[in-house]
Symmetry: D5
Subunit: 126 residues, 10 copies
């Protein structure tokens, strides 16, 4: 069962703004309606607050274990995406966060869901 308390963060190493992306290509959860497994990719994209403002970055190994904890969870595409956004926003309180999930699909329909927190930083448009 997913538990955001396993997530850890470390202090951001810079005052200057920078942007981090993590791509987890091996996400799986379970469709609550059919019981069949869903497979997808989870993308995180965030700008931590500056070091002086207490900015943090999610630690990679804890992120991996957090994402693995959805393995046998029955949960819909939209709910997974909003939940990961909420858990990471609570953990890092980032200047900006985007969570995107890409699903391999069922019955000939593939889906993508994206949820955001905060405003897109200028550094991303480069």
């Amino acid at each position: 069962m997913p538990d955001a308390r396993t997530l850890e963060a470390f202090p951001t190493p810079a005052e200057s703004p920078f942007v981090v992306e993590h791509f987890a290509d091996e996400f799986t959860s379970v469709c609550p309606k059919t019981g069949h497994p869903d497979f997808g990719t989870v993308t995180l994209r965030f700008q931590p607050r500056p070091a002086g403002a207490g900015g943090t970055c999610v630690e990679l190994k804890s992120l991996k274990l957090y994402l693995q904890s959805f393995r046998n969870e029955g949960i819909y595409y939209e709910a997974v995406t909003n939940r990961i956004r909420d858990d990471l926003a609570a953990l890092m309180k980032p200047a900006w966060l985007l969570v995107r999930t890409d699903w391999r699909g069922r019955g000939g329909i593939r889906s993508v869901v994206r949820a955001t927190h905060g405003d897109v930083p200028q550094a991303w448009q480069q």
Copy 2:
């Protein structure tokens, strides 16, 4: 014969804005002029209204059956696209909706048609 009444929606799970895309790669209808089948892809992209404002998302299985119902319908590219836009806008009353159809083409010409409803949300530009 296409019937929008088979479409179902479920309440959106979040107050925060998010964007959903569905890609149906196996769409087929019939050319009303020649009687030959047309093959294409239908892409939906929408931002539901917030949960508190009664926002809904189209249910995937009902979407699949709705799209399959065009299988033996004689209808032009432009009309299919506008019809799907109208049916889904009526169903979900979304903050934003884009319907895009990509057609494999006839006689060496491929086509793409896109119809929209509402204004592009900020979340999409990330």
Copy 3:
């Protein structure tokens, strides 16, 4: 010899704005200088005026025959592109039209030419 009078249009099926693209991958004309054939792709992208304003869309079969009529015409890249733009703008009087030609090239140089009519509609930026 190209003749814009073979082009036909049909009334646009919607009041709401939408955008149409046609990709003709098999265009050929003749270089007026060397007499060698040129090969390329012609892309049309347009937003018809609303139905209530008399908006029309170019009919696909007539477009195909119009493009085939350049087959033995000696004409430069830039002139082909501007001519197609002028002929289609006169036919449809669209809210927006872009004509793009991609040429396979000669002597190690490939070329692309694009000519426009009207202003880019908001629907295109989605």
Copy 4:
């Protein structure tokens, strides 16, 4: 030795704005430091001034010979790019010009250099 006097231009065929791109995939010059050959691609992108304002387009065969004249020239990436921009800006006096060079690289580092003249026209953003 490169000589801009071999470049020729012809009058632009239209009053309406349009944009031309040329891609020369077979560019080679010599590294002035090591004497080893450099290989790359040269991309031109320009909007001629309108015909009524004396706008011109570079002629393709003269462009090909001009680019070939760098074959045994010892010249750095940055200097090649700025020189081609200067020579073509002087020849065509275009409304806009971008010269981009993509280099296959040395010692595991590939490079791209881009130099511009004038302001990006609206037609390019389509």
Copy 5:
């Protein structure tokens, strides 16, 4: 051990603005936590100040040696990226600088980090 003093720069050859990109596909450092090697790509993108303002460009061979000096350094993704940004900003004092690192990843998660200095120049948006 990385040492920014091995970096060299040469005077920029032009008054007009231009943008340079370098792609180093063979970067490697060591994870300070596990001791396992990390592999990635380093991308630099910068606009030197004009020649008259003392603008400089990093010299390619010194850049290559500088990047190689991280080979046995234990350092995190975020720190590498910010350090390269700081070292190159100090060396060139560029009008704009973006450093992007793409990492092959560990445990099914790939990462990208980007850090910037200065404002995005207009020339980059072409």
Copy 6:
């Protein structure tokens, strides 16, 4: 309902051996179990007997109509493939025939079926 009598053939134009392939990317039939549509590609590959031995080639337009006649037929992957092989072998009595079907799949499993008639000719191994 599929009817092999709509298939037509024309006399092969050569005494020398040659091989023909046809790729129909827009095949669709119906799953007899679920009633959902199946989508796939049909590939034919054959060597006609020599002209002097009465060799024939399937006519393209009749092939297209024959394949379209499966559109609303409930039939399994394996049965479609064997049926097309039998119908075309009966029509052309070719020296060699391979029918391959590639299916987009259901529930995360894609499938390919291939059925043959006669021996692989030497000309195919080139």
Copy 7:
């Protein structure tokens, strides 16, 4: 826990030889050493015995459920592959069977394992 008794087969529809391939892109099991999930693709390729000899084909839905049953099983790459080969060989007693597993990998090493049963049929070499 994987259980081969859930696998079902149906009688092969033809006397003539034919070859079937199934590609399951969403396979997952668990590494017995680390407890981390493994992700991969399972490919089956087989030639059933002729109908008259009691040949059978594995039924797709039962195959899907059988593969899903490995989801929480701790099992090595080599053992998974040999086990699927054994279970399917026992079920179908095919003339030929190849099982191939492609694993996304751990620590920078991707793996492929293939196990076979019977001799490669002539039909496969076409």
Copy 8:
């Protein structure tokens, strides 16, 4: 109208066996039934006889003009392929010749035709 007399050959430069391939990506002829243009690629692959045995290679410019001469010829796929094979076999009397034509297709069906002369040489299998 195609005329094999425009084809020229030059003496092969070697006694040792070697293989030559030419890929003409811009072939076009006309469908004799519908009058619509056909577009495709012509591939030649041959081993000339040794120099001492009078071996020759087709000259590239004459090949280009020969292929261009089909531009307005009404001729079927199979006939084009066999005719080019016959004309080039008569010109070069090669140890081996393969002519392959790849057609962009009509009505959703793409085609490939290949015709040969002589036996596949050992040098090709490397």
Copy 9:
């Protein structure tokens, strides 16, 4: 310094023949002539002897550490490849082993080296 004694093997789990491939995309060593790092991919492909004949498979984690031990070793492409082949052949005494190294190259030349042990098994040709 590379040391084959860190390699470990485990008993093969099957009597039936099967083939294993490992792809290590992140190999690096040092050029003994220039001191610059070399980057490449190492591919292993082997068939263990049957379990009853004492067949073994290389253990993945020990393989990873063994390959990492070349990181600061000065050694040529050909010598790396032959050494890995020798070390793994001594460890596993496999029925067949192929070691292939793909190098990113220096000065515009990429290289591939492959060394083998034993005879190619039938299972590989499927």
Copy 10:
């Protein structure tokens, strides 16, 4: 002017058979007829004789300089290929050698030439 005397070889490091490939992506020479530059890729593939039989491998830097020496040489595709084959066969006296040249082409026709020396070794078929 090309001079095979600049080529150097070093003794092969193994008694066991192995195969080496070098890919030089930046080859250029001059067309003797038109004076225009030709661009292509040169691939070498060879098996040295065993060390005990005096086998040697071409040294990479000398190969690079040898290939660069064709830069301003007027020479046809077929002659370049046969000459490189002859020069390398004389240098290394390999058990097997294949030289393949891929040319970017002129006037819409790309070409590939391959010349060989000795028999294809078993190790290549793996």
